[in-house]
Amino acid sequence: MKKTYKIDVDCANCANKMEEAARKTAGVKEASVSFMTLKMVVEFEEGADPKAVMQEVRKNCKKVEDDCEIFL
């Protein structure tokens, strides 16, 4: 399952870091962050609960870039 989330982040490198952090989160199969459109596309693993996974993704993103937001 694929879902798109709106995000807010200030710099392009931070967006890359968020992408990496999201990819490393359990339950995420693939993640892609576009700094230009301020969007995060997340593909979840089979059977993963997107809501719970996204909470983790947000936590991990905040860890690498304090100043970011994912609108769940």
């Binding site: 798109t4 710099c11 392009a12 490198n13 890359n16 576009s34 230009m36 459109t37 304090d66």
Partner: protein, 623 residues
Amino acid sequence: MNKKQKKMLIRIVVTFLLLVGLSMTPVTGYLRFGLYLIPYLVIGYDILKKAFKGIRNRQVFDENFLMAIATVGAIALGDYQEGTAVMLFYQIGELFQSYAVGKSRKNISDLMDIRPDYANVERDGVLEQVDPDEVEVGTLIVVQPGEKIPIDGMVVEGSSSLNTSALTGESLPREVTAGEEVISGCINMTGLLKIQTTKDFGESTVSKILDLVENSSSKKSKSENFISKFARYYTPAVCYGALALAILPPLVRLGILGLAPQWGEWTYRALTFLVISCPCALVISIPLSFFAGIGGASKAGVLVKGSNYLEALSQAGWVVFDKTGTMTQGVFEVKEVHHSTIETEKLLEYAALAECASSHPISKSLQKAYGKPVDRGRVTEIEEIGGNGVTARVDGVSVAAGSDRLMERLGIAFAPCHATGTVVHVAVDGAYAGHILISDMLKPNAKEAIRQLKKAGVKNTVMLTGDRREAAEQVAGELGIREVHSELLPADKVTKVEELLERKSGKEKLVFVGDGINDAPVLSRADIGIAMGALGSDAAIEAADIVLMDDDPLKIATAIRIARKCIRIVYENIYFAIGIKLICLVLGALGIANMWVAIFADVGVMVIAVLNAIRALFVKKLS
């Protein structure tokens, strides 16, 4: 400028004034340190805060951290002015970047400003504005002049001209009247239209296109992936380099050469390294170039589904076309009547009546050329002869109309046709009566399109068609296409494309262009599938990588040009930014470039790269 940016601008101005003021104030010692701390904190407090949080989260190679170390280090060495100035310029660079990115985001979303905000629905005789999402299929909506058509549908009442330029890049308005299909996203220019919707908003053209454009940047190109990887290694590498620069040379001087270690000098050089270690220019300018390139393309009516496709398109070496509907209009017309033993009109009348039961484009073109309503009552005993033609009785006279093979089968001597096109022989009462030549029309821009493709550096053009060899070769000859494969079934087209994929050399990419109706398998097999005239055709929008909004073949060359320009800009930025940074690193290590040079290099490269990236937005129109 948004609120955040305005606040930053004020901080920058205040810091600048304070710095100028302080440089003219003759103070020394702790007072000087204390005074310089004011502008430093004004401009850098958020960076310091972020750096601190970064350390807590174990994100050491974060540009905030690097900037903090470099500036704190400079201040510790007594270079108060430099430390503050580096922070100031860094923030100026960040502000510029945020402004430029915001601006191009807005520019590009304005380009694709086709999202309708509301639909007018008549309820109890009053017009009400409702959310297009809530309009059910079959609802009657009213579109006033100046408004966008919110949902695909059929005109029930009224006539008007539509501006389709936001969708197709085509400036010529389209006339519509009652009974015609209209697509969402067009702007109604002159008259009031009442439209019965045929789709939900979510299924309408405008939603599909917006969806496609908004998701285009999630498919990243190789260059973008390269840059994110590069950034991941570059920053740590420079940091370790800085550490080595601060420690090793003094130790060598002290231990081996027996000289004074000059700790301060080497630490200063190491801090210069840290200033250059930020990969900002690259990380921002590459995605920005692709974003601008895709934006510029959509303005020209070329929708690109991802920056990876734009990158692949720039390497197009082979362009393979479908003939009918792509290079030709797909509309058959009776061109000539040859060897007619009876009056031309009479011959057409017989042919049209005999073929009256068929809905094939050929029969339709016969009926159109006949020009009068077909009275089916005059026709009896219609018999289709296995794809070769028909026999029938018209006004009691036996008529046969069809191909060479039909005539052979009926044992009627016929005059073969030397012209190209589809030939319909007609025999009346068992005797040959002549033949009708029917052919497809080339699109007006087809020839120019091939010429422009060659000019854009496409080496090979190939045409594939299910049509007869003569017809295919004639079209190819007219267009200047050397390689033609004709009489192909849809499945053969896939095999042919596979053969061509084998023949092309390594880096070249093969583009297939089709009108999208039954080309889906070929579109997905080619390196890049381009569907044209795809407005309203969902299957084509799904299967293709690039969608041309109108059916002008000239847009293929436009798309390739856009792709080439965009990739050129991307490479310019990569070489320029990495080159300048490497030069500065070397000069910094040798002690030639000081922190001023480093920060100017960093911010300057970023500004130039961003401005260069925005250039990808501008598309030169091919005439």
